[in-house]
């Protein structure tokens, strides 16, 4: 079995978890393995159906008082119990904030190494080969894991979703043995950003602005573009963030977030290596810059050499028209 950690917020499964599940299903088909989804916490029965639709045969619902608020300590303990019983060949996470926090903890608990933030999985001679970017995407490292079970986290927005059309599978409910008094750290509060705006790591389209935006007020132009396109978000270069024009949650790059949307728009961003590090795995890159020599054009699939303030208004109209069609 390949076990996939399923992350849900307010009862709704994150898309990144469904991507991990979809990839698990593709590899499991090659390896002749079943798929299990692990859902931790309470009130997740309804979410199980979605897990089956993306390829799982079994949904494990792990419940217990210690799992009500997220705690890496408690979840690693609960997952270890499940792993000891279900004996999966591999456990996959999505490399979300949660997955990056939890996967290494479980790996250490099981005494195995971890493949983190993978962007490609291939089955070769009956074994999984993991590939992940190193040096901020300037190189790719491929390797096998020597230990069992194999634990990996998969970068969000990289692996395509799969819909099997299935509706049911086996639901296995388990009470986790871990008790609240065994846990010394847990999440006590979750705050969402303003207006519940989509995070850059979850967006399918990103409109990013750099120093060329000239000032904080002009980020409203990007907000408007984003308002016209569903599942989009506003991003920024470090220069824009350091100038105080926009909150650092929006920063893309080496010290910011790693994103791989379907389309990344870079407005007034020169394309420094540290910026490219965070967005070069985007499917399509569009650069708007008045300097034809700007390095961003080397990374871009489409480029417009010109003043961003003249390009944004007509672009907004064109995108609106297109999406209304």
């Amino acid at each position: 079995m390949i076990l996939v950690y399923i992350e849900a917020r307010e009862g709704k499964i994150k898309k990144a978890s469904l991507e991990a599940l979809s990839e698990a299903r593709r590899r499991a088909d090659e390896l002749n393995l079943e798929i299990g989804g692990a859902l931790l916490g309470s009130g997740l029965e309804a979410a199980a159906a979605e897990v089956f639709a993306r390829g799982a045969h079994k949904a494990f619902l792990l419940e217990g008082e210690a799992l009500d608020a997220y705690s890496a300590q408690a979840e690693a303990a609960a997952l270890e119990e499940l792993v000891k019983d279900a004996r999966p060949e591999a456990v996959f996470f999505s490399a979300t904030a949660r997955g990056k926090d939890l996967a290494p903890r479980l790996a250490a608990r099981l005494g195995v190494s971890l493949a983190s933030d993978c962007t490609r999985l291939e089955v070769k001679d009956g074994r999984i080969e993991y590939t992940r970017p190193i040096f901020a995407g300037k190189a790719l490292l491929s390797f096998r894991l020597k230990s069992a079970p194999q634990i990996a986290s998969l970068r969000p927005n990289v692996f395509p979703l799969l819909d099997t059309g299935r509706k049911d599978g086996e639901v296995v409910k388990r009470a986790a043995a871990v008790r609240p008094d065994q846990v010394r750290g847990r999440v006590t509060e979750v705050r969402s950003g303003k207006g519940g705006a989509l995070d850059v790591t979850e967006a399918e389209v990103i409109f990013s602005g750099g120093r060329g935006m000239k000032g904080p007020e002009n980020f409203a132009l990007l907000e408007e573009l984003s308002g016209a396109v569903p599942r989009s978000a506003v991003g920024a270069s470090r220069s824009a963030v350091d100038s105080g024009w926009i909150d650092h949650h929006h920063q893309v790059g080496q010290t910011g977030k790693t994103v791989s949307p379907n389309v990344y728009f870079a407005f007034g961003i020169s394309g420094a290596i540290q910026h490219l590090a965070g967005m070069s795995s985007s499917k399509v890159i569009v650069a708007v810059n008045k300097d034809p020599e700007a390095p961003i054009f080397k990374a871009a699939d489409y480029g417009i050499v010109g003043d961003l303030f003249q390009v944004i208004p007509p672009l907004k109209e064109e995108l609106k028209k297109l999406l209304e069609e």
Binding site: P133, S142, G185, V187, T201, V229, K321
Partner: protein, 260 residues
């Protein structure tokens, strides 16, 4: 408060990297190395906590003798003590191996601490594994990718970034915390600090002395290749007036790239 900070020597992000396919590795010659930028936030946070609440700051690094430079930088910033855990293995890309060494060193030789501070990720290998793994091996609570940290007595609260917002993790000490950009602005070393750090005799603990088995020290990854990412095919520059270019772009994104 006894604060330990864990630091790594990493290639400068500006470095152009070269790959040697035959040896499945990144060529180290010609790279310049620095203290991992995220670890600078961790050192700074430790110094601020010490200044506010008293205590000591000790810095640990697993690596070869060449890592002494980054330990000296931490001393010059103001750390009280530095320890090199000498390991000749080089980059293994295996977080568990490093975490095992760190956890064992603390258990065997430095068991008295209140807070373990890390960077969120070591640049280059880009693993982001060692803090959580060390926390698990030592049975400690963890807060990763932290942008705000508060310690009062034996209780801690940390704010960490999550998709579309942030969350607060409450924990009791001792604990593991890893630093993200935004936590603080690291100070520069003073000249006096640099001079003083030069004179310090940094203790060196060979990994072999920690009592780890050969199996525990064997890398868990079998590297099958290192490659450069596929070249993007040359992009298309859309010329013409802004309105025209905008129209062409929207059309191309729909019918050519099929992403809208």
């Amino acid at each position: 408060m006894n604060i330990f900070v864990f630091v790594k020597r990493v290639p400068d992000t500006e470095s152009k990297i070269k790959i040697k396919r035959e040896t499945k590795s990144v060529v180290e010659e010609g790279l310049s190395f620095i203290l991992n930028p995220y670890d600078e936030f961790a050192v700074e946070e430790a110094l601020r906590l010490r200044e506010a609440q008293g205590g000591r700051v000790a810095v640990f690094c697993v690596g070869g003798e060449e890592s002494l430079i980054v330990l000296r930088k931490c001393l010059a910033m103001g750390a009280d003590e530095a320890v090199l855990i000498k390991d000749a293995a080089g980059e293994t890309y295996d977080g568990l191996r490093t975490a095992r060494i760190l956890a064992k060193a603390l258990q065997a030789k430095y068991p008295e601490f209140d807070l373990l501070l890390f960077g969120k990720q070591g640049m280059g290998a880009d693993n982001g594994q060692v803090p959580s793994m060390t926390a698990e091996l030592l049975g400690l609570p963890q807060a990763n990718v932290v942008t705000k940290l508060q310690i009062e007595g034996s209780a801690g609260a940390a704010v960490r970034e999550i998709e579309g917002g942030e969350e607060t993790v409450a924990f009791s000490l001792p604990a593991v915390v890893s630093a993200q950009k935004g936590l603080n602005e690291p100070r520069y070393e003073t000249l006096k600090g640099i001079m003083a750090a030069k004179k310090v005799q940094i203790p060196v603990v060979p990994v072999e002395d920690l009592g780890l088995s050969a199996a525990e020290l064997a890398p868990g990854l079998e590297i099958t290749g290192v490659d450069t990412p596929p070249e993007r095919k040359a992009g298309r520059i859309l010329t013409g007036a802004p309105e025209e270019a905008a129209r062409e772009l929207a059309q191309a994104l729909r019918s050519e790239a099929k992403v809208l």
